[in-house]
Symmetry: C2
């Protein structure tokens, strides 16, 4: 039975380990990763077309006008968005697509596509979160505090996500997400084709015996 893929949206507090989780999920081989477009400059080591599509403000605004984005948001003066084309193509081919985006964009997509699966990744505690941010060693203390403040605001809306997964240890966290995807594949509203198969088979077998 040919099947449409699922749209899996991952968000989480800054420092919750989203990036590592996404890498772990990609190793499973069953997912396609959506690549965001952004107007911000590449950071060291980032590759265009792998980490982001780095485009100009003008190009970004053209995409908005042409409804070529699933969602977009502005963060620290830069635009971030999800180009529709790649996502749609993968799902049509039956592949599940992972979107790692901010809460604002995630809730935007959920409104348009209620069948999207939203997962919010959290650390075991806020203390652990702060430690993880500090151990990165790349940020000043005031940047860390700004991230924590932003996360504290996100905490108030995180119950709008379909699932909240604690990333204490990486492997159990990835396993939990894989199980969520398996469970979601069996959702009643995703099983219309299976349902129709049964309706048809019953019609046939009851007709044959009447």
């Amino acid at each position: 039975m040919e099947k449409r893929g699922m749209l899996l949206i991952l968000s989480g507090f800054s420092g919750a380990g989203k990036g590592t989780v996404v890498k772990g999920l990609m190793k499973q081989g069953q997912f396609a990763l959506s690549i965001s477009a952004t107007t911000r400059s590449p950071r060291e080591g980032e590759v265009d077309g792998r980490d982001y599509f780095f485009i100009s403000h003008q190009e970004f605004e053209t995409m908005i006008r042409e409804a070529a984005l699933y969602e977009y948001a502005t963060y620290c003066g830069n635009h971030y968005g999800t180009p529709r084309e790649y996502v749609d193509k993968q799902m049509a081919q039956g592949r599940d697509v992972i979107l790692e985006i901010e809460m604002q964009g995630a809730l935007q997509v959920k409104k348009m596509f209620p069948e999207a699966v939203l997962i919010f990744i959290v650390p075991p505690t806020v203390t652990v979160l702060k430690e993880r941010l500090m151990h990165r060693g790349t940020e000043e203390m005031d940047v860390i505090m700004r991230r924590l403040k932003r996360s504290s605001e996100e905490a108030r809306s995180m119950d709008q996500y379909d699932y909240i997964v604690v990333n204490d240890q990486l492997e159990p966290c990835i396993e939990a997400i894989v199980h969520i995807v398996e469970a979601e594949r069996q959702r009643g509203f995703r099983s219309r084709r299976l349902q129709q198969k049964f309706i048809d088979e019953f019609a046939l077998i009851l007709k044959g015996d009447n």
Copy 2:
């Protein structure tokens, strides 16, 4: 963190193997099984208080009047219902409760308790279903055809269930249900306590550093 248990409702076509699935789930040790009350007579080997609470029509009607039932239905002239008391007590103690009931009752409970998890069990094909019913050897052909007809009607509403699980082989089917329960435990709307914990921890850490 003390937690309220989950209400897991299992239904399925007659012959889909619900009984065997429930027995397999009970072996996991994490579930409590709700026992229905019924006005029908015990079949051979059925034990009062284990398979059903066998009660009189009068007793059943008293339970209806006193709102002591979660749901009830009439089938072939007999009443079947789910006594609330046992289910509520188990859930309050943090245990997940399995309810094996008909579609009519299941959708009744879902309306009252949207947080209940409804799982509909189906065989791989209708042909397999018919064979399973015939191999039981306890039913006449016209009874089997009546059951198939009833199932064909249920097929039209089975998408109202939260999940549809195919029972081809027993072990993978049980595993799928266990994974669904694990996934459901991480649902956003079931994580209010976890959310509050984060809100409180953020408040504390941000206050300490301001």
